[in-house]
Symmetry: C2
């Protein structure tokens, strides 16, 4: 059973959602109606040895990242994050300095987005497990699901791709190489994208107001996450590979480790960039707003098209087309 | 650092809560204002080898319990649970039958309380980790915090005490002993309390409407959880040991394992019974309502009294008094 099989099993076993649940399992966050508001609910679990390695990420960065990945899920709905809960499992006799740094990193990420950490739970565990839940509210512009992409919509992405996966490869190359790349400059963006990823909260709200028809954060790689949008919307997509905004440091990484930049951009996860579909006329104004207000690039990387089988096609600069399999990070894949 | 030290560290590092947070860390659930509603948020993490043992709890019971312990936190605020999110870490190649049973147990517990499971996250982990978040709403009667107990209030508890801890001791005695005790009848209540604990949701709402001044669920043992109410309310308490509603099976367990029933009732955790403080005049009517509507006993076990040091005193039938230390389950205790 891979991750999709497991989720499919859960969906089969769950009873039909009540009418106050506007979106349940299968989007970045659930959407429920509470009183006069639409509330977004999302949870993410980070497991030591699987999602992070305590020898290569500082406690402060880990705390920051645990909050950021959850706020990113709220961002991908076009929402405004409000409250977080943190469940933390860790070995007995935790190092007090490590623990203080971990909590400080959480507080830092929460503060940047005016989010309050309002509760949690502590448990003992053999290895560190962090499970954060974020709640948010929809803002004017409305909630953007994965399922609204239409043929003819442009496909856009914020920021640069492949940076987080590049940072992970750089860490795997060893502490000395990572430190050298950081001081040479090019490694810094990659390592920051891996260890202190920015949740694109304000960007998500701009894209929602600009009329985004679908949105997702690129947490499992462009190909897999675009595949989710295509499947949820029952449309296909053409991705222009020559237009992908590759993180600049990836060229330097290629010389060090041999990792292909395009492969990292397509299949490397954890970028927390937003992938959205927009009516063509909305792209330029949205890009101008994001550049002006936040200095965040928005790149048009392709187009959605009618295809009931929701296939993705990648085109190279020479016009050659090839199918793009929705491969990427799968916790239970082989 | 024990659990209290860790929580204290978190509280020191968190900035002051914004005004829309009516109760943050330090109660069974956080209380936040969203639009025109008061929303309750709570999370609990269950870790294999610490909080449960896969060799002694079925997947269905584990799923049921993971949801129930969270709904119990909403119950302890007098609230109505609405939505759950489930983050699940588990080894690669999970047994499909085990997984289906786990999810089915969750669905069963959620359905009993008309709660919708609206989202979650899957991660790989060496051992099974379940982190559930429950949201709820306050209902007429209002939110009951831990901090409102007043000198002169009566101290009441729902159901029977020590059953869940007794069930755990029975499981530890071995599968043959557990099966024999189950078929002899007396073991069944103990094992059910451990593996399929009932969240006292409806009871919590009745107690809130009856005017409960403070409430908590007895998840870490009566002594420790009463200590939390006393500390939060800055009052002391007298507990009448001869009035404690001991689970009937504990006398049989005593003969099998030598475990002291009173000790299990005072210091054994996971009972999910509600411990509340009430004005004296409210006790009889509340007890009558609970008995009539749900068949749930409500027992008057003592009284709150003025004591800025929030000490607990236990009295025996002969009138002898002794201090009751707030000991009980501590994930990081020695």
């Amino acid at each position: 059973m891979n991750e999709a099989d497991l989720i499919g099993t859960i969906e089969r076993l769950l009873p039909a959602a009540p009418p106050d649940v506007l979106a349940g399992i299968g989007d970045d966050a659930a959407v429920v109606r509470i009183g006069d508001r639409l509330v977004l609910l999302s949870t993410d679990m980070l497991v030591e040895g699987v999602d992070f390695d305590r020898s290569t990420i500082t406690a402060r960065d880990l705390g920051y990242r645990a909050i950021a990945v959850n706020l990113s899920d709220i961002a991908a709905m076009g929402g405004s994050p409000r409250y977080c809960l943190v469940a933390l499992g860790m070995p007995r006799d935790p190092d007090p300095a490590w623990f203080v740094e971990l909590v400080s990193g959480m507080v830092e990420a929460a503060r940047e987005h005016a989010v309050a950490i309002v509760g949690g739970d502590l448990s003992r565990a053999e290895t560190v497990v962090l499970s954060v839940t974020a709640t948010g509210e929809s803002v004017p512009g409305g909630v953007v699901l994965r399922s609204g992409a239409k043929p003819g919509d442009r496909l856009v992405v914020t920021g640069r791709l492949g940076a987080a996966a590049g940072g992970l490869r750089l860490l795997a190359a060893g502490p000395r190489e990572a430190a050298r790349a950081r001081s040479a400059g090019w490694g810094r963006d990659l390592l920051d994208a891996q260890c202190r990823p920015a949740a694109r909260v304000a960007e998500g709200q701009v894209l929602a107001r600009a009329g985004a028809t679908a949105m997702i954060d690129v947490s499992d790689g462009l190909a897999r996450d675009l595949g989710r949008v295509c499947a949820a919307s029952a449309v296909g997509a053409i991705v222009r590979l020559d237009r992908l905004p590759l993180a600049p440091g990836l060229q330097d990484l290629l010389r060090l480790t041999g990792d292909d930049p395009l492969d990292l951009a397509l299949h490397g996860g954890e970028d927390l960039e937003l992938l959205a579909t927009l009516p063509a006329a909305a792209v330029e104004p949205a890009a101008a707003t994001l550049a002006e207000r936040f200095g965040t690039p928005l790149t048009d990387i392709g187009e959605m098209r009618a295809d009931p089988d929701a296939r993705i096609v990648a085109t190279s600069q020479d016009g050659a087309e090839r199918p793009l399999a929705p491969a990427g990070w799968d916790h239970f894949g082989t």
